[in-house]
Symmetry: none
Subunit: 298 residues, 2 copies
């Protein structure tokens, strides 16, 4: 983006009108806000940045401390660091649809068990009826957007993929390393579509992703968690690479499937993911939960 | 504290000398540092503060944004908020003992892949050589200890189990509900020992546990995460029941195995858990990691 963009965006949020806080986490120091920018619906996500080891000397040298409490060997303070060490990572979705707003709203969750038949009779028709757009994924694959963020590409149309940092990772420290491999093939919606036919693709992503991450970030395979989500947040096959030391959102057993397990399961049973009952989380307001209820499956 | 304290403490950390970063969390935006204040050992903990709803108008009004990326409706920025909204909570332990330093030190972890053969040739001999005592488990099963904590018992010697709260759960609220089912059979060390022979046992635990938790705590099966650990923390088969809303330690995909998946896998392949490669975490100081290294498997 040129300077024009820069100065236009500098004040983008000065007229932001908050409608509601959708979610916040004191643990993660983030907040998800629904509001309006001019007359457009928007979701704004603010998240404080991690404290980096390199910045410690400066934090200690130039900061001011205010004593809060002292007891024996323990004391607590408020520290005001130099302003430039205090950025807040900001994500703006604008114009946002109702679906975006719902996505970020904290909701009660339920565990569903979906058989292969449930998928065909309930989930698949639901996904199709929603016509989720994955245009932004195609923009990446076609280099129409985020081209400068691509870390690695294997252009093969059958087994190729692009690897790029996830939005959640600011790439400033390796502790919360988070990359996504997006496949070039456009005919695989999720884990459910995978058969033994896709083993070469999956193995290529696993090997290629690990090699690039080792080479570029010096993070070995033994320090990586490589997995798929079910349900995914978008229906174009992608694989998550996160640092093992990072307790990444969505790496719980109720959503994540290790790529190494997926490959083994397909090797043993080509139709494993077509036939198995898969457990996954749905939120109370997810239309899919309603469909499962209507079908008498919950 | 009076003004004297205030001004003395204001510069307390300006001469802080970092010895080592003990631990940090990109998710939680904190960092634990071992160092020296003058000539005294100290541990300093820095943690960014949560973003408060009340401060949003000021953040939006007076902040400057720097565009990082734009793709379709999504854009990301660095936001520099007014300095006074950017405090870092600081905790100082000084003088600190070696025990304090160890307490905060994070152990590095590694992901191992254990084949069925690795289990027999490396892991099983290691477990046996350690002669981990599970006497405390037998005490529970024989009602010699914790008898008053048992929530439910199925006394059947083949498929029976006792259900009791995990120590991590204080039973005061349901948000972090955590119960453990311990089997009466004493011949099953872990997931690795399970075959189709054990399906009736596993199904009984699943059904019995869910029914009791529904009846006693009014928590339905759709709000429960039911799983086994691999590696487990003790080698006598047990199953974890945690509230889906609780981000319980050990429910990540690198350690947890959903009981419903385990049952299905054994139904499809009686020897699934004898033959598969299983991934699991080890800490740098775990003797098992050493054994895998000695065997050239890492």
């Amino acid at each position: 983006p040129g300077d024009d963009n820069g100065s236009a965006s500098e004040s983008l949020l000065s007229g932001f009108k908050t409608i509601a806080v959708l979610r916040d986490s004191a643990r993660e120091k983030n907040i998800f806000i629904h509001g309006k920018i001019d007359d457009q619906e928007a979701v704004v996500i603010l998240e404080k940045t991690p404290i980096r080891e390199e910045s410690l000397p400066e934090i200690f040298k130039d900061s001011r401390l205010k004593l809060e409490m002292k007891n024996d060997i323990y004391s607590t303070y408020q520290l005001q660091p130099p302003p430039h060490l205090n950025e807040i990572k900001t994500t703006v979705v604008c114009p946002a649809t109702e679906k975006h707003v719902k996505k970020y709203l904290r909701q009660e969750t339920f565990l569903l068990e979906e058989s292969g038949e449930d998928y065909l009779s309930i989930t698949l028709p639901f996904i199709q009826s929603q016509s989720f757009s994955v245009q932004w994924v195609y923009n990446i694959l076609e280099k129409k957007a985020e081209a400068d963020r691509i870390v690695h590409e294997d252009p093969d149309p059958k087994v190729g993929f692009v690897l790029l940092p996830d939005f959640k990772w600011d790439q400033k420290q390796l502790d919360d390393l988070y990359l996504i491999a997006i496949v070039h093939r456009r005919d695989i919606k999720s884990l459910r579509d995978l058969t033994s036919e896709h083993i070469p693709l999956l193995s290529n992503i696993r090997k290629g992703g690990q090699e690039v991450i080792q080479k570029r970030y010096s993070v070995p395979a033994t320090k990586l968690r490589v997995y798929l989500h079910y349900q995914p947040s978008y229906y174009h096959l992608h694989v998550h690479f996160t640092s093992l030391s990072y307790d990444a959102p969505g790496c719980g057993v109720e959503r994540a499937h290790l790529l190494s397990d997926v490959i083994q399961n397909l090797e043993a049973d080509p139709k494993y993911y077509r036939s198995r009952c898969l457990s996954f989380l749905v939120r109370a307001d997810d239309g899919l939960l309603r469909k499962f209820k209507d079908a008498g499956r919950v």
